[in-house]
């Protein structure tokens, strides 16, 4: 401490009180810095995971070995930081640094839900995501994942689904579609509720083809509907965050619809039996 300050220390009767404040505030700022750092590192690792996942081309089966291998270190980094966060975000401080941690958690949900989608073609549930955080951080008490962070992460994940579909259309000439009969009903039983739902649905929505597997666009539309129906009244901050992301989300779905449109309409120009997959120029037309 500088000399003039030391002089004042001896004069002011409030010094002891302020010294106590200082150590409390320093603790708080240190904790805050740690949370910010962890949040940033989780964001960075999640982005790398997503980047690798974008090289996956198949839907509905475990991610290929190359992605598992290259992402292992990033999942590990995230786990380490979640563990660190667990030490700071508990008790009275559980919600204190929400604003600092929200960025990292959203990005993490984006990565987690994207991989989950690629593997199962379903949306990861809030409980599954929470459980995953608990497990990854080897925590005794979970760090709080707010419903808001989960929803906002899902909004971002839609952008990844868009990129995934467009790349797939550009390279394979078709929209990624789930595995047909053998895999799908099995998953429906484990991942979702009743298996008889399949039959009802097929009767209603599909007249000609039965057991048609869903493609990414079907899923995007379904997700879009669910998100549009979500009511954010009563939480102004969340409401404005959602509003911002809603526009981007709609654009993403639009992009996929447009890409699929051009794929179909231009496909018709080709001579019969000329499959889009074998066509090299397709790449240029729907490139992204």
């Amino acid at each position: 401490m500088a000399d003039p300050k030391a002089e004042q220390v001896s004069l002011s009767p409030f010094m002891a009180m302020f010294e106590d404040f200082r150590s409390n505030l320093d603790e708080h700022h240190d904790r805050r810095e740690r949370v910010i750092k962890s949040s940033r590192d989780i964001t960075a690792s999640s982005k790398k995971i997503i980047f690798t996942l974008q090289r996956v081309r198949v839907l509905g089966c475990p991610v290929p070995q190359f992605a598992v291998k290259s992402n292992a270190q990033y999942w590990e980094t995230i786990g380490k930081h979640i563990k660190g966060l667990g030490a700071d975000l508990h008790g009275v401080n559980a919600y204190r640094y929400e604003r600092q941690v929200t960025g990292g958690l959203q990005e993490f949900i984006e990565a987690l839900s994207f991989q989950h989608y690629l593997e199962t073609q379903t949306l990861i549930t809030y409980e599954e995501a929470t459980a995953r955080i608990l497990k990854m951080g080897e925590l005794s008490a979970p760090i709080h994942l707010s419903p808001q962070d989960y929803v906002l992460g899902i909004f971002d994940m839609i952008g990844e689904l868009m990129r995934f579909s467009i790349t797939s259309m550009a390279t394979n000439g078709k929209i990624p579609t789930g595995k047909a009969k053998p895999r799908k009903p099995k998953e429906d039983i484990t991942e979702e509720q009743p298996e008889d739902r399949m039959d009802i649905d097929n009767e209603v929505s599909l007249s000609s083809e039965s057991q048609k597997p869903r493609n990414v666009l079907d899923d995007l539309r379904e997700l879009r509907l669910a998100l549009e129906m979500f009511n954010t009244q009563g939480d102004p901050k969340f409401g404005s965050d959602v509003e911002k992301k809603m526009g981007v989300m709609r654009e993403c779905v639009d992009k996929v619809e447009k890409a699929l449109y051009s794929l179909v309409v231009r496909g018709k120009e080709r001579p019969k039996g000329w499959m889009p997959e074998v066509q090299a120029e397709r790449r240029a037309e729907v490139s992204y």
Partner: protein, 239 residues
């Protein structure tokens, strides 16, 4: 119909909707309590503002009137505390933090004027612990998650106190009270010295505390004007 075809389990969003709606209901309930507190804060500052135009000899009436307003503040904070203690503190504290700061300031000012003591001796600072006792709430809680007065809120209230006292120093001179500015001068300097040892980050506390030195200077100017005109009472002249 595609909504049921399988990607999204409808229960996911139903469940999340319920959670978000529950929070909204809690927020509404708290808002009512905070509004009551706001009303009582306005009431006491209305009463206390008369301190700027009431000489010390007649201040008792003002302070006694303020006392009943202070009791209302304590009561409304009590209700807020009761509701809020069931919730995670930092999840909702932004709803009430501003009003709690104002309440803290009002009571600090009232106590500085001598309102909390029989003799009405002015110039006393309630420490955060003392203020907590007056407000009947815990302060700076670390070991459990309940309603409390935070250090940040107390510090914000101190800044408001300095601003108010700078005003009071000038107005005292208008009422030909040449002694009080000296008291204020010493008091705000001591507080400024305290703030100077804090390592504040770039937040609202930092921005407001940056203004403290100007308030202290305002008071110094008043003292300077008084001493220039030989108006400072001999007995309490500064060393």
């Amino acid at each position: 119909m595609s909504a049921q075809s399988g990607m999204v389990d409808p229960a996911i969003f139903q469940d999340l909707q319920t959670r978000v709606d529950e929070d909204a209901a809690v927020r509404d309930e708290l808002k009512d309590l905070v509004q009551t507190l706001e009303k009582h804060n306005r009431q006491i500052s209305f009463v206390l503002s008369r301190a700027h135009s009431t000489p010390v000899s007649k201040l008792s009436a003002v302070l006694e009137e303020a006392e009943s307003s202070a009791e209302q503040i304590v009561e409304s904070i009590g209700k807020l505390s009761q509701s809020a203690s069931k919730l995670p503190y930092y999840k909702f504290n932004s709803l009430w933090s501003r009003q709690v700061q104002d309440a803290a300031f009002n009571l600090l000012f009232w106590a500085w004027l001598g309102g909390d003591q029989d003799g009405h001796i002015q110039g006393r600072l309630l420490t955060i612990e003392e203020l907590g006792i007056v407000l009947k709430i815990p302060v700076n809680l670390k070991d459990r998650d309940e309603f409390h007065l935070t250090i940040e809120e107390y510090l914000q209230a101190l800044i408001s106190l300095v601003e108010e006292l700078a005003r009071l120093a000038r107005n005292s001179v208008t009422m030909e009270d040449y002694e009080r500015p000296l008291l204020i001068n010493r008091f705000v300097k001591d507080l400024l010295a305290g703030f100077q040892i804090l390592n504040l980050k770039n937040d609202s506390l930092r921005r407001r505390s940056d203004g403290l030195k100007y308030r202290v200077k305002d008071v110094e100017d008043v003292v300077y004007d008084l001493s220039l005109r030989n108006l400072i009472p001999k007995k309490s002249e500064e060393k």
